[in-house]
Subunit: 196 residues, 2 copies
């Protein structure tokens, strides 16, 4: 399995983290975003949205970080990470949506501005991040994990850009339950950091 | 099953559309967003993000429009809409992500500004919509449906805010493949419009 990757991308890290936590072997191929390699025809043929990550498994191509998590869990029948009971599965899917929207357009966008000079609205990203982290902190003050009694795909999707929030100028100081949860993810066997 | 709903919301319409296409009975309860009912404690207890739609099925509560589609498909074993083969399922999941991010922050945000006076960046939403519709049009000029050879959850998630784009001041004139696909969704047996 080839992961088309960019080392500092939190979206690519979601996939590397899930693979590491489950001992899945990925052949990582870095795409040079600084040289706009993601817009070259060979890459656009893999992903019409011209973004990393993309996973290639034989003839199968999957793009979108959340979708790649679903693919890996389904392909390797990792039902403890992607519960088969409909309500639990749907609630994990809800956290995948939150990861791709509220978390992306809060802490992830703030980091894109600060670290990569992305032309995004920084005050807006900071305001979104505050709302998202506040809601997440309340949730995690009542629940050990995002869904149920153990980590799921929800953790792999949500953790990267929450843990990387300080790189975007967003401190987690005011969110003790979020910090407890970040530490719990980092204590999982097989955990790797973004720059591992 | 109770759907906490707002009639003009495209996100709520995703759920009503999928239910109609599959003959699922929903008991619709409208939440008065103009009176900020979604921020009242009883609703915040259902959905920490304080947004519609929310689905309640006995003791089960699911929030997020994409997640509710997953729940209904899993609960009613509608595998033709949510394929059980891992690669196809993951590719449907990718379109759920696109619906919650690229489509939401393109045509859906533009409509929020134009119709509901939302304090969002309209030129930014219009630019996002152009990128999203351009990519979608290329995809749909090569594929009959978003994934595979028949409609899936991808259609229920993506169609509403694409079809409603003109309400946000975004015409579909330049996107013939998108218009062909919109018409194909509208020809499905059981189809209902947003104001049905």
């Amino acid at each position: 399995m080839i992961l088309y990757n960019c080392p500092p991308s939190g979206n690519c890290y979601k996939v590397r983290l899930f693979a590491a936590l489950n001992g899945l072997e990925l052949s990582v191929r870095d795409v040079d975003l600084a040289a706009a390699e993601q817009h070259q025809p060979w890459f656009a043929a893999l992903n019409p949205w011209q973004k990393v990550p993309v996973l290639q498994d034989g003839d199968t191509v999957v793009w979108d970080s959340q979708a790649i998590l679903v693919y890996l869990a389904e392909r390797h029948q990792l039902w403890e990470w992607w519960p088969s009971e409909p309500a639990a599965r749907a609630r994990v899917a809800a956290w995948l949506s939150i990861s791709g929207n509220e978390i992306q357009h809060g802490p992830a966008d703030a980091r894109l501005v600060r670290v990569f000079d992305a032309p995004l609205d920084y005050p807006n990203a900071v305001a979104n991040a505050a709302r998202t982290l506040g809601t997440l902190d309340k949730w995690l003050s009542l629940h050990p994990w995002l869904e149920g009694s153990r980590p799921t795909l929800a953790e792999c999707a949500a953790y990267p850009y929450i843990a990387l929030a300080p790189e975007g100028g967003i401190t987690l100081d005011a969110y003790p339950a979020v910090r407890r949860w970040v530490a719990a993810v980092e204590a999982l066997p097989g955990y790797v950091s973004v720059d591992a």
